[in-house]
């Protein structure tokens, strides 16, 4: 048996990644079938105007939903490949894009908006991808748990000498971190594994994650598929 299957997240990731392909195939069929209806509809000039407009409007909705499904399944596919390697170089921007994209629903349910800063430069970090994603997700969960409807979370990152910094800028809240000791405890445990730190930064204000740009993890190459 392949030893990488000893990690539970590898099994979950492989199943999820495989099914994003199935979803993509379904979307491709819907897309082509919609295109065919559109083609036939354009050929039929005898149908009355109101009927034509209704069909066009419905086809537009199908198109929008195919694109929405495509975007989400693409994010989910990237997410599902997170466990492919135990230690690997990860693009911070891409990881945050996936995190924000897949967390939009949770934020929307609380009427909180998420914004990821544009980054002109690629910043890569050698880390444990699963725990890295876990840490950022817990940080975002913490923020969503204590913020209120109408609030805004701005996410950014940069490199400062030998460290990579990720910031979740939040509206000013008194006793923000103390309000959620469980989240902080979990994050600190994950930080210990990642050789990183997380703290409440009064100047942001918000959560500030710090990662060594060149940590000393023992690497085990484990490529996934699908």
């Amino acid at each position: 048996m392949n030893s990488r299957y000893g990690r539970v997240e590898v099994v979950w990731g492989k199943i999820c990644a495989g099914y994003t392909h199935e979803i993509k195939n379904i979307l491709a069929i819907i897309n082509e079938s919609k295109g065919l209806i559109e083609d036939i509809h354009h050929l039929n000039k005898q149908t009355d105007q109101v009927f034509q407009e209704k069909i066009s409007a419905s086809l537009d909705i199908i198109q929008q939903q195919v694109e929405r499904g495509e975007r989400l399944s693409s994010l989910m596919n990237t997410f599902a490949h997170t466990p492919d390697q135990e230690v690997a170089p990860v693009s911070i921007g891409e990881t945050l894009s996936v995190l924000v994209g897949l967390s939009e629903r949770f934020a929307r349910n609380k009427k909180i908006t998420l914004e990821l800063d544009e980054q002109p430069n690629k910043l890569t970090l050698v880390t444990r991808p699963v725990e890295f994603m876990q840490l950022l997700f817990v940080g975002l969960e913490l923020a969503l748990a204590v913020l209120e409807s109408g609030d805004h979370i701005r996410i950014g990152f940069h490199r400062e000498q030998a460290e990579c910094l990720i910031r979740f800028s939040l509206p000013p809240k008194k006793a923000f971190p103390e309000a959620s000791p469980d989240y902080l405890e979990v994050m600190q445990d994950i930080c210990a594994v990642l050789q990183s730190t997380v703290r409440w930064d009064e100047d942001l204000p918000g959560l500030l994650f710090t990662f060594p740009a060149e940590p000393s993890f023992s690497s085990s190459a484990e490529a996934g598929s699908d």
Partner: protein
């Protein structure tokens, strides 16, 4: 003028049937098959002007089919269809002689444009 003949190869029957009909509505002659094995038979029986080939298929994979086609018909233009995890296969396919690869879901106008580019490029190449 005879319509351009295109061979579509994908194991998703509904996908390939809808795409074939859309291309036929635009004046192309299309043969649609659902496996690599059928694709090789179709190419041998009546060589098409271009092949549109899914990379991930049960049985003979798209890349294996591509290699067989190129061994027999080196100048036949082949376009690959890829998914998320198979863009690497798409690039590998180009090293094996595929003209290009496209991601699903497709935009039919992009596909037609690529088919014409591929056929045009093949016609400009001197015969082996």
């Amino acid at each position: 003028m005879n319509p351009m003949k295109i061979l579509l190869v994908d194991d998703e029957q509904e996908f390939v049937a809808a795409l074939a009909e859309r291309l036929e509505l635009r004046g192309y002659q299309v043969e649609a098959v659902n496996s690599g094995e059928e694709a090789l038979q179709a190419v041998e029986a009546a060589p098409p002007k271009a092949v549109v080939l899914d990379v991930k298929m049960p049985g003979l994979s798209g890349l294996e089919v591509l290699k067989s086609i190129k061994a027999q018909f080196p100048s036949m233009p082949v376009l690959l269809l890829t998914g998320y995890g198979s863009t690497e296969d798409g690039m590998k396919g180009m090293r094996f002689g595929a003209y290009d690869y496209l991601m699903k879901p497709l935009n039919i106008e992009d596909l037609i444009k690529k088919i014409h580019e591929a056929v045009g490029a093949a016609e400009q190449k001197p015969p082996h």
